[in-house]
């Protein structure tokens, strides 16, 4: 790994919060993820890039607990982690915003924000009023014009649904945030808003994986890029050591530029 030279990109010196080593998963003989490794430092934003079907979503789902890996190790804050389901991942402070948003369409915003972690009264019943109050507060920060708290999220617009999914992830003091195509459903203004949010979260010391198939979406937000192709890791590189064109070459051809650290999926010269 190359030495740090720039001043504003000093997150590499921070401790590693996630170390995924040699992770593999296959579905019926297809190696969706093939011995891929990736690290994440505290307060760092790593963009995970690749074509549709490159295996990036599947790879990151091993971390969020949606899939169980066939082999490989995951270490969280230096200690080996057992992640067999989403509950385990949440216990480690890993929150995920899925590409599909994973919202229960038929219940309202507050119910979605607290799904699986409901606030309860002294009687053990749902404290809907308190949950709605919290929901109003956090949504007020993210999307001040949002007012439709009584309606099922099915009735919300794409951007509003996205902000519900984001609010759910940051409501519980996430330390590690996974965002899978967070701006895919958004217009330019909302995309910029999400960009601002990512910077703010990064300043709060939250470590973020950004997954995207479009380099334009994430290049300016990330500290480091990691590229996958055909289930394998092509390589990783600090954003200031490579150009966009070079990263594009990694995505399309699997060709590792000099500024990048090649992985097992890099094209042989």
């Amino acid at each position: 790994m190359q030495e740090q030279t720039t001043t504003d990109n000093n997150t590499q010196a921070a401790p590693k919060v996630v170390e995924m080593t040699d992770c593999s998963i296959s579905f019926g003989g297809i190696h969706a993820v093939d011995h891929a490794s990736l690290d994440l430092h505290k307060g760092e934003v790593v963009a995970l890039l690749g074509h549709n079907g490159a295996g990036k979503s599947t790879f990151i789902k091993l971390l969020s607990g949606a899939y169980k890996r066939d082999s490989g190790t995951i270490r969280i804050r230096g200690e080996e982690a057992t992640i067999n389901n989403p509950r385990d991942a949440k216990a480690y402070g890993i929150e995920t915003i899925y590409q599909t948003l994973a919202l229960a369409d038929n219940v309202d915003t507050a119910a979605n924000l607290y799904l699986g972690r409901e606030l309860r009264t002294a009687w053990g019943t749902l404290d809907d009023v308190a949950m709605e109050a919290q929901a109003r507060e956090v949504m007020g920060r993210l999307n001040p014009r949002f007012q439709r708290f009584k309606e099922p999220v099915k009735a919300l617009s794409g951007g509003q649904r996205q902000s519900v999914a984001i609010a759910r992830a940051i409501l519980f003091n996430a330390q590690i945030l996974i965002m899978d195509e967070p701006t895919a459903a958004l217009g330019p203004q909302e995309t910029a808003q999400v960009g601002e949010l990512i910077k703010q979260l990064k300043n709060d010391g939250i470590s973020i994986f950004l997954i995207s198939h479009d380099i334009e979406d994430v290049f300016d937000l990330a500290d480091r890029v990691a590229v996958m192709k055909n289930g394998q890791m092509v390589g990783t590189a600090p954003v200031d050591a490579v150009t966009k064109d070079e990263v594009l070459g990694m995505i399309i051809l699997g060709k590792c530029p000099p500024g990048a650290t090649p992985g097992p999926g890099a094209m042989d010269e």
């Binding site: 995920t96 899925y98 919202l103 229960a104 369409d105 038929n106 219940v107 119910a111 019943t125």
Partner: protein, 438 residues
């Protein structure tokens, strides 16, 4: 509007003023218009039957009987709502009812008299407990196979339909078990299985206080967090309508007197002089109806106020999202089927007590009535949508159709034709309503 909390600076303010008075009324009271439509349809059915039967339908006697006949299906329909909401189905409820009824029959006629003697006051408690445990176990088996072995609920409960019907036969090799314990029989209704005029009014008073308290607490809670409040007149309307409904229902039950023969026997047994005009002893609310109402309240509480209920609906709306949110969806599924088994046992106890016997054909085709009740009551087979109250009203609709047609002397085969058509019609109308409102 009298109340205007500061949180109601809604962007739709301009549009609101153009709404008609009716729309404003519904918005202010937050009444579910769909439910109101169903009640309207029920009223229509009742009035039609009343007119065509020369005024025999809307009588205390018929309505009281209707309430007792509905209890068993209504109880099971509350569990079916949760099952259908999570995109499953249970075809076995009728057979479970039959099997558990047989077990309960044998328990109280063959085993308990040897242990406790005939007519022991705890016989019914033990019998019902045995039934509930057996029902829960059957539900647990179904739930386990569905949730953990991933066999579709349709198949598992189709198997259950055959298995438990066969098992019901096997308990006594097809013999009918009778008669039941005297206390146990109270669960089936009848003159003795009703609570009488005085206690019925007590229940009504408690219900009215409950309605009032509920509205007051909701209002206080909303105030605490500065949420939009219902205008006072809307709250008052709800209280008046709710209490009015309760009081008139009890008045009807209290207007249905005991039959003369039973009054005479009761009078001789208690040394009461029967006056010339006959003695008026009111039935009051029947015990099975009270059980059904209690089940309805508890199930509504479970569905709307507990984590379990929240998970059931979230799973129905998006199973994958529920799983990703960290919900143990398999365990929740298994619990739903356990609950269904318990409800089948309670329904079985009522139907056994009412028949004063358990037969191996008991509950045959009940699964279809129960599913129909849930679906007519607004439970969406697509999952995620449904209410307990709706399903219970659906059960009343189904039972009203059936007993109304019996009253009119409609041939049995033609009754099924009508019920089938009504079911399809109701679901079609519901679909139209939903597509327009979303």
């Amino acid at each position: 509007m009298t109340d205007n909390s500061n949180a109601t600076a809604s962007p739709q303010g301009a549009r609101q003023s153009e709404e008609s008075a009716i729309t404003r009324f519904f918005r202010a009271t937050e009444v579910d218009t769909r439910m109101l439509g169903m009640l309207g349809a029920l009223m229509l059915i009742w009035i039609m039957f009343h007119l065509f039967s020369d005024g025999r339908f809307l009588t205390p006697r018929n309505l009281w009987n209707l309430s007792v006949q509905t209890s068993s299906v209504a109880i099971m329909s509350t569990g079916m709502v949760l099952i259908i909401v999570t995109r499953h189905i249970d075809l076995s409820v009728g057979s479970i009812l039959g099997f558990v009824a047989m077990i309960m029959g044998v328990t109280q006629t063959s085993f308990l008299p040897d242990l406790l003697g005939l007519g022991s006051p705890v016989t019914w408690v033990i019998t019902l407990s045995v039934g509930i445990v057996v029902g829960a176990l059957i539900g647990a088996i179904h739930g386990y196979v569905i949730a953990y072995l991933a066999v579709p609920a349709f198949i598992v409960t189709l198997g259950g339909l055959l298995v438990w019907r066969g098992a019901a036969w096997w308990v006594t090799s097809g013999q009918t078990v009778a008669p039941m314990d005297a206390t146990f029989r109270l669960m089936g209704g009848g003159p003795y299985g009703s609570i009488g005029a005085f206690w019925s009014w007590v229940v009504a008073a408690v219900a009215c206080i409950g309605i009032l308290l509920m509205i007051v607490t909701t209002r206080r809670n909303r105030k605490r967090f500065n949420f939009p409040l219902r205008p006072l007149w809307a709250e008052l309307t709800l209280v008046v309508v709710g209490c009015g409904a309760v009081l008139s229902a009890v008045a009807v039950a209290n207007n249905y007197p005991w039959p003369k023969g039973i009054v005479k026997r009761y009078a001789t047994a208690n040394n009461i002089e029967v006056p010339d005009g006959g003695l008026f002893i009111a039935h009051g609310i029947a015990i099975p109806v009270l059980i059904a109402i209690a089940v309805g309240i508890i199930m509504t509480f479970i569905a709307t106020r507990t984590r379990f209920g929240r998970y059931v609906f979230a799973m129905g709306g998006n199973p994958e999202a529920a799983e990703l949110a960290g919900i143990n969806t398999r365990w929740v599924t298994m619990k739903i089927f356990i609950l269904m088994g318990i409800l089948c046992a309670i329904a079985g106890a009522i139907s056994t007590a009412r028949l004063n016997a358990s037969t191996n054909a008991q509950g045959t085709l009940d699964e279809l009535l129960v599913i129909a009740a849930a679906v007519i009551g607004g439970t969406s087979l697509g999952g995620g949508i449904g209410t307990i109250v709706g399903a219970m009203i659906g059960a009343v609709v189904m039972q009203s159709l059936q007993s109304g047609m019996v009253l009119l002397g409609v041939d049995a085969p033609f009754q099924n034709v009508v019920v089938g058509i009504v079911l399809v019609l109701a679901v079609w109308l519901d679909g139209l309503y939903r597509r327009r409102s979303v």
